[in-house]
């Protein structure tokens, strides 16, 4: 019988070590100031949801964490390393320890599901023998419940399946940190719920620390250990889902209504 992930205890998973520290982050595009001194810290093993309206700079924030964008000012320390100061090789080594699930899943559409999953393994020479690679591929697919899709092309998959395969491709390198960019956007409520539960299962199975960017409250309710509300480029509020739900603040209330 499927366990309800909400009822899985996070005791012993989360500890106080900080795996990501964002300190006074500034980022603007032309005249548009997106992040204006944003602060955040992610504890080891926790699921941290960053909530904000569309265009509030949530995706910019996590793209700064993997070096896809560079901040104008401020510190982004991931696993003890300040991202803007790393050279390309150091950044590539660090990126292997970080998983990133894109909003559009970003599957390589010229490759089959198997080739998509093998790609990061082959690139990092993690496993050389064919059997070993196959085993890792099947294990990652099993963990997202899609072993049957192994020889399909991405174009043959539904939105939810693509998300799962995107997740499997990221998990195959067994990352310590997972960054989810709007994982439930564009999915129906049932699939969204399944993906949300999967995020919690991954937290337990892979012991990952995760940042989940979303504006989907149903997803936030299922996955969040802690939540941050991003308003006007700063960390406006921080707390558990229940704490924030009780808030009477006019900038927080609209998220829960």
């Amino acid at each position: 019988m499927e366990k309800n992930p909400k009822h899985q205890s996070t005791e012993g998973i989360i500890n106080d070590d900080k795996v990501i520290i964002v300190n006074k982050l500034y980022k603007s595009f032309g005249d548009n100031d997106v992040l204006k001194g944003f602060n955040l810290d992610l504890k080891k093993g926790e699921n941290l949801v960053v909530l904000g309206k569309s265009g509030s700079g949530k995706s910019v924030l996590i793209k700064c964490m993997v070096g896809l964008l560079y901040p104008d000012d401020g510190e982004v320390a991931v696993l003890g390393k300040n991202i803007p100061k790393l050279d390309q090789d150091e950044l590539d080594h660090l990126r292997v320890r970080i998983g990133f699930l894109f909003q559009s899943s970003a599957l390589y559409d010229s490759m089959t599901v198997r080739e998509n999953l093998e790609f990061p393994l082959r690139r990092h020479w993690i496993s050389k023998s064919k059997e070993e690679v196959n085993e890792l591929v099947m294990e990652a697919l099993k963990n997202v419940g899609l072993e049957d899709a192994v020889d399909k092309m991405p174009s043959e998959l539904s939105g939810g399946m693509r998300k799962r395969i995107g997740l499997a491709r990221t998990l195959i390198l067994k990352p310590e940190i997972m960054l989810y960019d709007e994982p439930t956007t564009g999915l129906d409520p049932i699939t969204s719920r399944e993906i949300s539960k999967l995020i919690v299962e991954i937290q337990h199975t892979y012991q990952t620390s995760s940042i989940i960017i979303t504006h989907d409250m149903a997803c936030a309710k299922i996955v969040a250990n802690r939540m941050i509300i991003l308003v006007d480029g700063i960390c406006y509020a921080i707390g558990t889902y229940n704490d924030l739900e009780q808030s009477k603040d006019p900038k927080i209330r609209p998220f829960f209504e």
Binding site: D92, R95, V96, F100, Q103, S104, S110, F119, R123
Partner: protein, 256 residues
């Protein structure tokens, strides 16, 4: 105002393309080398363009011969037909037509492929998985285009000459031996080498512009369409400009 902006945009894009080319040379010669992807791209760009290049070259050779005959007949210079066609094909028509066909086929496909990869975040995904997408996608494609185009030109030229032999024999009888001797008595290395060298540059330009347009594609489906379209237009135009420069250089060096 509008004109001023267009002028500024043109200069800006020229600068960006030059920087993109500079990055290709900088990253292309540093390890890690993507041999497997390079060979895959050579197969796609070279082998899969072969049928189109062959058909076009055959038609060009045949048409050129058939259409040149009446003019030469007027001067009683019909026997110069193989020599004239060979010079035209080897020096000019072979490389330029092959390059234009490849700009259409390869340039647009690279522009659209990289453009759609950019729009659907596949390039970002590659980068965060610790793979340098510039090396994996751009360097391999530009190199494959540069290496494959001269080979396609050689195959195209050969087929054009064979088609010309058929064209000569449509109205008259010329043996293969006679045709072959006339052709090779006319052409020498000063015809072949400049043509061969400029094919490398044509290949480089097709790969460079296709990759630049696709890699820097704007978001959305319109961006992908625009990337594919402008890859063909800009690389075709650059092929003619390069051809003009190549002719001038060959002329100055006395290779005429």
């Amino acid at each position: 105002m509008f004109k001023k902006n267009r002028y500024k945009d043109f200069l800006k894009e020229t600068g960006e393309i030059s920087a993109f080319a500079g990055r290709f040379f900088k990253e292309g010669f540093k390890p890690r080398y993507e041999f497997a992807e390079l060979i895959r791209q050579c197969f796609i760009i070279g082998y899969q363009s072969l049928p189109l290049v062959c058909v076009t070259a055959f038609i060009m050779g045949l048409v050129l011969t058939v259409q040149s005959r009446p003019t030469l007949e007027e001067f009683g210079a019909e026997s110069y037909l193989p020599a004239m066609v060979a010079i035209s094909v080897i020096r000019e028509i072979g490389p330029v037509i092959t390059a234009l066909i490849c700009a259409g086929k390869i340039g647009s496909s690279i522009g659209a492929e990289l453009g759609s990869m950019r729009v659907t975040e596949q390039i970002d995904a590659m980068e965060v998985s610790g793979t340098n997408p510039f090396k994996y996608l751009v360097v391999t494609r530009i190199l494959a285009c540069t290496l494959m185009l001269p080979l396609l030109v050689i195959v195209g030229d050969t087929i054009s000459l064979y088609a010309s032999y058929i064209g000569v024999n449509l109205k008259g009888v010329v043996s293969w031996h006679l045709y072959y001797t006339q052709v090779f008595d006319t052409i020498d290395f000063s015809d072949l080498i400049p043509a061969f060298i400029k094919s490398y540059f044509f290949g480089f330009v097709i790969g460079l512009i296709g990759c630049y347009k696709g890699y820097n594609s704007k978001k959305g489906t319109e961006g992908v369409g625009l990337a594919a379209n402008s890859a063909v237009v800009v690389s075709s135009l650059l092929i003619f400009i390069l051809d003009l420069i190549a002719v001038q250089i060959a002329d100055l060096m006395g290779l005429t």
